[in-house]
């Protein structure tokens, strides 16, 4: 069967505007989650990982007029531009597809003060995708995956499936979400936010940190345009249990992992977990990982660095995970100190070298959705 390669990638977060810069900061144990007082985003102070707006605007100015594009669009465009600049793949033509993964897109336009500036259609995710399509001259109409926090992983899995089936030669997958009053207020109402940088899998974890960012992975069926890392098969499964609480038995995540392991038929050397640092999510993940027999496999969460970037998470975390895979590097779980889940999974607590051939990316989200995807070399 056809192999799907990763040709190029990009990460834009509080920790930098490209993959290398982000990894550098992560290796030195720097978290991007900070304390903020910003009345436009929240009446109370909050902790979050935010992209530097001034730097974003500055970088975007090199491409286009920042006054004509929303912050969301600027992030998406900068991410795609950077990824494209690092590959010789020609994205023109019918054989390239663009997939956008996002939960809320330009939702900040719903708030006061902005609704006069932009068109109403900008609120719609298909419109944003079309804007990006036109910007980069993608011939094919883009797909938009809007499936809570697993959007990114689903989008990569779908892209890989489409190349494997011969429908496309290249797929550009971009995941983006921004921190807005809309989302911050919602998570506050859930009382699921940590008062400080989040602590995945830790004993005293209280909740998640919100983050924003953009990530791009360019998938290709052409080995000549790519490095060694390949995207294997990925699957999703619904818990069919509760719309916001994860299944106690980790049912959906276990099924997604099981299907992924069966189809790819490769051992797992490292797991990039979802690890939001909420009491329930991390517990559920430890259950699912153990049920799948992977309790000895080193596992980390990147959310202590970037917070939970929602629709972008699956993509930016896959970029970091595949970077780890390519460089035989295990990056420690920022914020983790003391094991705090019932099943004793092997949480990576310091940077280390490890010879690896495969990496499993997993994610879960509201609506009871779960996804898993295997990368290998």
């Amino acid at each position: 069967m056809k192999e799907v390669y990763i040709a190029s990638d990009n990460i834009i977060t509080s920790l930098g505007f490209n993959t290398d810069r982000n990894i550098e900061n992560m290796l030195s144990g720097t978290t991007g989650i900070r304390y903020w007082e910003d009345g436009r985003l929240s009446p109370e102070p909050f902790w979050a990982s935010l992209v530097d707006t001034e730097e974003l605007t500055g970088r975007f100015s090199a491409f286009n007029d920042p006054d004509k594009f929303t912050r969301f669009e600027q992030m998406a465009i900068c991410s795609i531009e950077d990824a494209l600049s690092n590959t010789d793949i020609d994205i023109a033509g019918d054989r390239t597809l663009f997939i956008l993964a996002t939960t809320k897109g330009n939702i900040s336009l719903l708030g006061d003060g902005q609704s006069n500036l932009f068109k109403q259609e900008q609120l719609y995710l298909w419109y944003t995708a079309r804007l990006l399509q036109q910007y980069f001259n993608f011939r094919q109409r883009p797909y938009v995956v809007s499936n809570a926090c697993i959007s990114g992983v689903l989008a990569i899995a779908a892209g890989a499936r489409m190349i494997r089936s011969g429908n496309y030669d290249h797929v550009v997958v971009t995941g983006v979400d921004i921190v807005t009053e809309f989302v911050l207020s919602g998570f506050n109402s859930f009382r699921s936010l940590e008062s400080g940088p989040c602590k995945p899998f830790d004993k005293i974890r209280q909740g998640l940190s919100l983050g924003e960012g953009a990530g791009t992975i360019i998938l290709t069926g052409n080995p000549l345009s790519a490095g060694d890392i390949r995207a294997g098969h990925g699957f999703s499964s619904n818990d069919a249990n509760h719309i916001s609480g994860p299944s106690r038995t980790g049912e959906g995540l276990y099924i997604a992992i099981r299907n992924t392991l069966e189809k790819n038929d490769l051992p797992v050397d490292y797991i990039s977990a979802h690890g939001t640092a909420t009491p329930y999510n991390d517990e559920m993940e430890s259950v699912a990982i153990t049920r799948a027999g992977l309790q000895e496999v080193p596992v980390n969460s990147f959310k202590g660095f970037w917070g939970h970037t929602l629709g972008a998470a699956g993509v930016i975390e896959s970029v970091a995970a595949t970077y780890s895979l390519a460089n035989n590097l295990l990056i420690k779980t920022q914020g983790f100190e003391t094991p705090g889940v019932t099943n004793p999974i092997h949480v990576i607590d310091e940077n280390a070298k490890k010879e690896m051939k495969t990496c499993l990316k997993i994610a879960s989200g509201f609506g009871g959705c779960n996804a898993a995807l295997l990368f290998y070399k």
């Binding site: 708030g111 429908n167 919602g186 069919a240 609506g367 009871g368 959705c369």
Partner: protein, 214 residues
């Protein structure tokens, strides 16, 4: 003769003030509000599912369409839960509820965001509600499209069925934006299990069903 491997065995359309199943109008309502219409459907078909009343409009609509789509099918008899997928799409995502949530945070002096509203500010929650109701643990994805695109939905679902990732699929369009709403759901199964499907699972047939006058 080549037998098409997958068939549409059922479809359900909820649109205007009508509920249509497999070409037959099952229910017509004189209700003037959308909320009233959906509650009328719930009552007319004697549905007993108290959680229905907690759902937002998009989830209620999708739930009702799926309920009637599956009303004469016992999927559990034929399929394991994780072999039934739910692949849906719409244009407005969860915009109806998004506006609701935005409203609750628009006044700093009366600032009470509601968790039970916020949880529905994601389009895929309607998939979650359908999966919970019917015990479906298979592959699921929510796509955003400018308008119903049978070709693209078909391509995605067909591939999952062909690769046996799933053996049965609920797919279609569930849209709720202000007072504009419609749900068109298809139940797709393998033709060797179900030779008497209504139509071959192909974009042209899906489109024909979608365009049915209601």
């Amino acid at each position: 003769m080549m037998v098409d491997p997958f068939v549409i065995t059922d479809f359900c359309i909820i649109r205007q003030n009508r509920v249509v199943k497999n070409g037959t109008t099952l229910f017509e309502s004189g209700e003037t509000t959308v909320a009233g219409f959906m509650t009328a459907i719930y009552r007319h078909f004697d549905i007993s599912y108290p959680k229905f009343h907690k759902m937002d409009n998009l989830s209620k609509l999708g739930f009702l369409a799926a309920e009637l789509l599956l009303s004469h099918r016992n999927l559990k008899e034929r399929y394991k839960g994780d072999k039934v997928g739910v692949i849906l799409s719409n244009a407005a995502s969860s915009m109806d509820t998004d506006r609701n949530h935005q409203q609750s945070i628009s006044n700093r002096l009366d600032y009470f965001p509601s968790p039970s509203v916020f949880v529905y500010t994601l389009a895929n929650i309607v998939i979650g509600e359908i999966c919970i109701r019917h015990g479906l643990l298979g592959e699921s994805t929510f796509f955003i499209e400018e308008s119903f695109n049978p070709g693209r939905m078909h391509q995605y679902v067909y591939q999952l069925l062909e690769e046996e990732v799933i053996q049965c699929c609920i797919t279609g369009w569930v849209e709720f934006d202000s007072s504009r709403f419609e749900a068109v759901l298809y139940l797709v199964q393998k033709s060797d299990i179900h030779p008497d499907g209504i139509a071959i699972f192909e974009p042209a047939k899906m489109n024909e069903i979608y365009l049915q006058r209601t």
